[in-house]
Amino acid sequence: MNAKGQDKMSTTREITLGDAMKEALAEEMRRDEDVFLLGISIRAGTFLYTKGLVDEFGGKRVIDAPLAEPGNFGVAYGAAQEGLRPVLDWMYAGFSYFAGSEVFLQSGQYHFLHGSQHPLPLTMIGTCGVGRRVGNEHATLPYGALIHHPGLKVCLPSTPYDAKGLLKSAIRDNNPVFFLWHTSLMATKGHVPLEDYVVPLGVADVKRAGSDVTVLASGLQLHHSLKAAEALKDEISVEVIDPRSFEPFDLDCLLRSVEKTSRLVIVDEDYERAGFAAEVCALMMEKGYDLLDAPVKRVCHPNMPIPGGYIDAYSMPTPDRIEAAIREVCR
């Protein structure tokens, strides 16, 4: 697979990440009549990837829900228990915290607490990400909190190709999967094949090959990291890896890369403390200590509320901050 995420498939065209998600939803609904959508203002389409789906699939499969998150979750959760394949759209991923017990404790652990007898094919969609000046609960990236809780699969695409492939994998998965997407990437364009394909959960992608330092980044930060790598290309050869999913996490891909580069920078737009970047640091200490020639460096959102307004450009990881971190570990 090359840096643009294309496979061997020949028939591709450029579409936006939002359109790629829409195609994934429509194709999976055509493929399996048990798949249905539930969420706030999804018929009109607050975000464009659900707009118009009601025309093809009707009101019974594209359901507008009230501003009542625990109740909406209950509908999806019960439907999944009964064998349907609901796709619950939280709009902003941070809104899933209104149904915290349901999302964090119940959905992931239901299957295990019931003796592995009952699968829970529930997909949740939510947007997140700093940089749109929308403030804390609209911007918060919940993957660190989500993967802390056993049983939930969590992914975040950085390209239209990955968005479509991951969303299809999520819907076909018999476990609860939280599909996150980055608000800033909705209009990002990229090649997407016409043919049916999936991107498996738990397989990372080397988005740029390099030999001096490994940068692990996802979502918008993947693009920031590619910019930093490009800016440094005459001095430092940077390998950029997109985990694509946080749980399951493709540690082997990362270890293979660090074996080559001996250095690691982890870029994580989430709050720094006890997040995904911290988890990867711990894994590196346990599994890759003697691959490293320098301490691992994190570039994260500082441990403070995500500010609304223009100031968020200063709190989030940026290409400049990533570039500085790369220079630091390569000293």
Binding site: D252, L255, R256, E259, S262, Y289, D290, L291, L292, D293, A294, R331
Partner: protein, 418 residues
């Protein structure tokens, strides 16, 4: 990628294991979840599957004892990685393997040089990778200066040092006195190691006290002759050991403290008399010997014939390696006969206690010798006996009572039918 396989901890008490067999040769292709080797612990041999797929580099050869969580092999994902691994392993081998029996493991912690100190009181920072490369090449980090942030020794420092030959440590060769020729090396592993540890612990923690005496077994030998004449009918050639066991059980009933165990601050006196029968095993080579102590359970309620059959079953199982965990568990007292050891000569020794037991009775070979009875010298068949008891658990009086009782029973075998 090159990944490490470590000695697993198969049971709570397991602290090390010995490589019994590799199913795949050095450099061979291994498949995930397919049996790769057997390891031997104190009691059992276990087959282990490979955790990864790839090419095998063996770090611990057959016979090596490795602590749990320490590397026993490395598995390279590709052939190319295997060749690199082998090249660095050879470089390390040239500087002397750090652990006896251990082939070089590229990341073996034991191979890492002593903590490098550049100035008194200050720990020299070293990156994990630099440490690894130094270990692979037998380079002493203490001789290096670090060029990384904060004076950290990093990869480039190690590579630079390796490029200047003077800094490479001189090969370590084991000292051997002139004229000494080695015949064999026997690893202190598996059963040998278990025996070594238990015997040393017994010798150094119990208050061994030894008693030697003779028992007139003329009548017992005569009685046994009568029984042996019926061998065909009985289906077994009843051994002297069966009589000794029966007599011990009856004597223990009279002097219960003999049949006890000492653990911590407590002596537990047992109702069941479970007699451990010390059984010699042939060694794997002419330099080795072995010993197990299968347990004859509830001897007090069994007759001589039943005891004999049970001993034969246990000894056969011991020799063909089919003893179960239950067969060797719960002994309360030991019988370790040395009959035949000296080819029929008079002999006693000082037996070690099989802890937590506190008593070990050791009859020798019955021999005819002159003794004085009623003022006349007569020829009698005498059994030389040795025993040891733990003076922490009891004093001389109960032991004397036990000795009188067992001597009475073995001198007057008719009492044993009671």
């Amino acid at each position: 990628m090159i990944r490490e396989m470590v000695m697993p901890q198969l049971a709570m008490g397991m602290s090390e294991g010995t490589i019994a067999e590799w199913a795949v040769a050095e450099g061979g292709r291994v498949e995930k979840d397919v049996i790769l080797l057997s390891i031997e612990t104190e009691k059992v041999v276990t087959d282990l599957p490979s955790p990864y797929r790839g090419y095998l580099h063996i770090c611990a050869v057959v016979g090596t004892t490795v602590p749990v969580e320490q590397p026993i092999a490395q598995i390279a994902e590709t052939e190319e990685e295997y060749r690199q691994l082998l090249a660095s392993a050879k470089a390390l081998a040239a500087s002397g393997s750090p652990v006896a029996g251990m082939a070089p493991a590229v990341t073996a912690p034991a191979a890492v040089a002593a903590p490098a100190v550049s100035a008194p009181g200050r720990r020299q920072p070293v990156s994990g990778l630099a440490k690894k490369i130094a270990a692979q090449n037998g380079l002493e980090l203490a001789s290096l200066a670090g060029s990384g942030p904060g004076g950290r020794i990093v990869k480039r420092d190690v590579l630079a040092a390796l490029a200047s030959p003077a800094s490479v440590a001189a090969p370590r060769t084991p000292a051997k006195a002139a004229g000494m020729r080695e015949k064999a090396r026997v690893p202190l592993a598996g059963m040998r190691k278990a025996i070594a540890e238990r015997m040393l612990k017994s010798k150094t923690t119990a208050a061994h006290t030894y008693v030697f005496f003779e028992i007139d077994v003329t009548k017992l030998v005569a009685a046994r002759k009568t029984i042996l004449a019926r061998e065909e009918e009985l289906g077994t050639r009843v051994s002297m050991t069966a009589f000794y066991a029966r007599a011990m059980a009856l004597a223990c009933r009279q002097v219960p403290i003999i049949n006890s165990t000492l653990v911590g601050d407590e002596i537990i006196v047992w109702e069941n008399v479970n007699i451990g029968i010390a059984t010699a095993l042939p060694g794997k080579s002419e330099y080795e010997s072995g010993l197990v102590v299968p347990v004859l359970r509830d001897v007090g309620s069994k007759g001589v014939l039943e005891i004999d059959r049970e001993i034969r079953r246990l000894v056969a199982a011991a020799r063909d390696g089919s003893l179960t965990a239950r067969d060797t568990a719960d002994g309360t007292v030991t019988l370790s006969s040395t009959a035949g050891f000296m080819g029929g000569e008079w002999c006693v020794s000082t037996p070690l206690l099989n802890q937590p037991q506190v008593f070990n009775f050791q009859p020798g070979t019955p021999i005819e010798k002159p003794v004085v009875i009623d003022g006349a010298i007569v020829i009698r068949t005498m059994l030389p006996c040795g025993l040891s008891f733990d003076h922490r658990a009891m004093d001389g009086v109960p032991v004397a009572s036990f000795n009188r009782k067992i001597a009475d029973l073995l001198s007057h075998p008719e009492l044993m039918v009671l």
